[in-house]
């Protein structure tokens, strides 16, 4: 038998240079807080949280070809879970809050998936949107989570294995920063590994041609449901991080605009790569900061940028340097 070299999955960097680039990026983020004022470190923290949300969504969008507008709801739900399980003025350790938040978000995603994955295409989009709004209304219209104005929560303690990270008040942001970084890196590596498994290949097959996947014997509904649930749980990790960072929940973090923003990050970064959403999140956060300084018409700028990207840069920032066209959008119905 002849050895067949296996290509790495489409979504991972194909060149050594690309891999080195990612390592350099991670290293730069690691040293950054020691070089800039705390405000900018906290800005990068929120960019990393956004990147986690976008990355979890890439499992659906880039890997499986499922565009969901309800994904942000699992993110917001997880933040609310932290609020709901934390007793007033008692900080729970992160090793309790994180798994619980992910579990609840994953369970909610599983239930929504059971309904919504029976549909495809536009139906799927609309149904996920409607279910997301359903979760939104639960927090917006009931007293469960503090109602329309939101509520404060006690930030979870950064602790694991019996040890607690107890930083002085002025340096607390560093703890949050590195917890976010560790989770982002772990999420990236975990997803990279997942996509190299047979499961990852099955997702790829579904993205390209789901009908054919069924015909060669794949239970595509089950596979999509697993991916949807997992993506929901990972969005939960991002939402948990938001709660840890902000100590505040508000119904708007559950709304569908969150999903649209995450999609925007994916598009900006590029559909065809796992690191695209991270680049997109960093770029969009930077853009938001600059636009806020330059103009009062921030939404106008945002709208024009999206329009320009959709029309001119269909493969995103990550697609700027590469010429690997075999994964382009045109052949998804092949």
């Amino acid at each position: 038998m002849i050895e067949v070299p296996l290509r790495t999955t489409r979504l991972l960097p194909h060149t050594l240079l690309g891999r080195i680039g990612l390592v350099v990026l991670a290293a730069a983020i690691t040293v950054l807080p020691w070089l800039v004022p705390s405000y900018y470190a906290e800005l990068v923290t929120s960019a990393m949280i956004a990147a986690m949300l976008a990355l979890s969504m890439q499992l659906l969008v880039g890997a499986t070809g499922l565009v969901s507008l309800g994904h942000g709801a699992f993110y917001g739900l997880a933040a609310y879970v932290v609020y709901l399980i934390s007793p007033e003025n008692v900080a729970l350790p992160i090793w309790i809050t994180l798994p619980v938040a992910m579990l609840v978000a994953g369970a909610a995603a599983c239930v929504v998936g059971l309904f919504s994955l029976r549909t495809t295409g536009f139906f799927f989009l609309m149904v996920t949107l409607a279910f997301g709004q359903m979760i939104f209304f639960v927090f917006h219209d009931t007293k469960l989570g503090g109602g329309t104005d939101g509520a404060y929560l006690t930030k979870p303690l950064i602790s694991a294995f019996g040890a607690t990270l107890d930083l002085p008040r002025k340096q607390k942001y560093l703890g949050t920063y590195y917890v976010a970084l560790v989770q982002l890196v772990a999420m990236y590596l975990g997803l990279a590994m997942l996509l190299q498994t047979l499961f990852g290949r099955a997702l790829e097959g579904i993205r390209v041609n789901e009908h054919r996947m069924r015909a060669i014997g794949f239970d595509t509904f089950k596979i999509k449901l697993i991916a949807f649930t997992l993506a929901g749980a990972l969005a939960g990790a991002a939402g948990h991080m938001w709660a840890l960072h902000r100590g505040f929940v508000n119904p708007e973090i559950v709304g569908w605009h969150q999903s649209a923003e995450a999609l925007l990050m994916i598009l900006l970064g590029g559909l065809g790569s796992l690191h695209g959403p991270i680049l997109g999140a960093l770029a969009l956060t930077g853009l938001g900061e600059v636009a806020q300084l330059l103009t009062e018409r921030k939404l106008l700028v945002e709208g024009l940028v999206i329009l320009a990207v959709v029309i001119l840069l269909p493969r995103g920032l990550a697609g700027l340097g590469s010429r690997n066209t075999s994964n382009g959008a045109g052949d998804r119905h092949g």
Binding site: V36, P37, S38, Y39, Y40, E42, S46, F137, H140, D141, G147, T148, D149, G150, A151, Y152, R246, G247, F248, N250, P251, E252, I253, G255, H257, Q258, Q292, L293, L294, T295, E296, R297, K298, L299
Partner: protein, 395 residues
């Protein structure tokens, strides 16, 4: 940088931002800080539905500075404006921009109560002196109160309580309250119920509608069946305009009254449908005092439109800030003296005299107003120096 009021253009703002970065890298001594201009962050809506409110508040703040010759407590003032877009999910991020990036000494903001929650979270941790020029969510001066946060506007509870009280005293036996199902709505309902019961009336029911929907028909069709003598309402902005019009068109015999925002800044749209509606608020038309007349004239000269309650609230926020800074001679680091001075301050507001409650919410007269000829004419003072209960606050 010679004009007293620094209406920064964009480019200057970027420079200011860069300066802040430098400033926070190189530690500065207090002596240097003392001679620097006082940085006042204005975090207000400058776009979206509440843009006009944000602008009127800003005018109010700037008027005080002009009156004081461009200095507060002996220090020049530099404004840093930030549009909060009335987006609650951006609240904490925007507040951090001012507090941490731009390093403001004082934050004045905002209108939207959801955004206020985000600001409050940030300034509670940073200890930045904060003045609330509008948002009326009770929590900020109740269970979440903070020693560095003062409110010169109202709580949703205050005008609604006064309205209930006025009805009760007038002999209304049964009344219901109708509002959106959101924090401000339920807080106003609570105030109305307590006021009505204090005046000897009976609270029948609370009718709610999802915020910010404006399809009032399903609720209006029920009112006749409630068997009440009066209906009180809390709506604002576009919702208020439409509610009053729909109420009139539905031909309901039960008289309508409400929290003052029902007819505040909305009479142009409501037209004849609003005639005769009684509302309660801490400000109104026809308040013939020298202070108010001077204020209105100055506002009109500056903004080229009539002053409103939001301008008054912004004006008073700056007056309270001035009182505090004068007590510490511009040394904003002396928090103890500063806060104590602000707590004790007696402000001569265009609306009448106001003071601060122990929870740092404004204590003020609430007027009964009646819509006459397109104006909210003040009829009488219902509740003199009314304070919010401030339940759950520990300062």
């Amino acid at each position: 940088m010679t004009t007293p009021i620094q209406r920064l253009n964009r480019r200057a703002l970027i420079k200011a931002g860069a300066a802040t970065v430098a400033a926070s890298v190189i530690p500065t001594r207090w002596a240097i800080a003392q001679t620097k201009p006082l940085k006042v962050g204005l975090m207000l809506p400058y776009s979206g539905t509440f843009a006009q409110l944000g602008e009127n508040i800003t005018h109010g703040v700037e008027m005080v500075l002009a009156e004081k010759g461009g200095k507060l407590g002996g220090r020049e003032v530099q404004f840093v404006k930030l549009d909060d877009e009335s987006k609650p999910e951006l609240g904490p991020q925007n507040a951090e921009r001012l507090v941490k990036r731009d390093g403001v000494d004082v934050l004045i903001g905002t209108v939207h109560s959801g955004v206020q929650m985000g600001i409050h979270k940030v300034v509670k941790e940073s200890g930045t002196l904060t003045l609330v020029p509008n948002a009326g969510n009770a929590a900020v001066t109740r269970d979440l109160c903070a020693k560095n946060v003062f409110r010169t506007s109202f709580t949703n509870w205050q005008p609604a309580y006064a309205m209930g009280l006025a009805l009760g005293k007038k002999g209304v036996k049964k009344a219901s309250w109708i509002t959106w199902d959101y924090a401000a709505g339920t807080e106003s309902a609570e105030g109305f119920k307590q006021g009505l019961e204090a005046g000897g009336g009976q609270f029948v029911s609370l009718l709610t509608l999802k915020f910010p929907e404006t399809n009032f028909q399903p609720l209006l069709a029920q009112i006749q069946g409630l068997g009440v003598d009066a209906i009180g309402a809390f709506f604002s902005g576009g919702g208020a305009v439409q509610f009053v019009k729909d109420y009139a068109a539905a031909g309901i015999k039960v008289p309508l009254c409400g929290s003052g925002f029902l007819t505040e800044g909305t009479l142009g749209g409501q037209g004849a449908a609003a005639d005769g509606i009684e509302t309660a608020l801490h400000y109104g038309d026809g308040l013939d005092t020298p202070k108010n007349n001077a204020f209105r004239a100055a506002f009109k000269a500056k903004a080229n439109r009539e002053a409103d309650v939001f301008a008054v609230q912004g004006y008073d926020a700056a007056q309270l800030l001035a009182a505090g800074l004068e007590a510490v001679k511009g040394n904003i680091e002396d928090e103890k003296t500063l806060h104590a001075a602000m707590e004790k301050a007696k402000i001569d507001s265009p609306r009448g005299a106001i003071t601060m409650s122990p929870q740092h919410n404004v204590v003020q007269d609430i007027y009964l107003r009646k819509v006459t000829n397109g104006q909210n004419k003040i009829v009488s003072t219902i509740a003199a120096q009314l304070a919010d209960p401030g339940t759950g606050c520990k300062i």
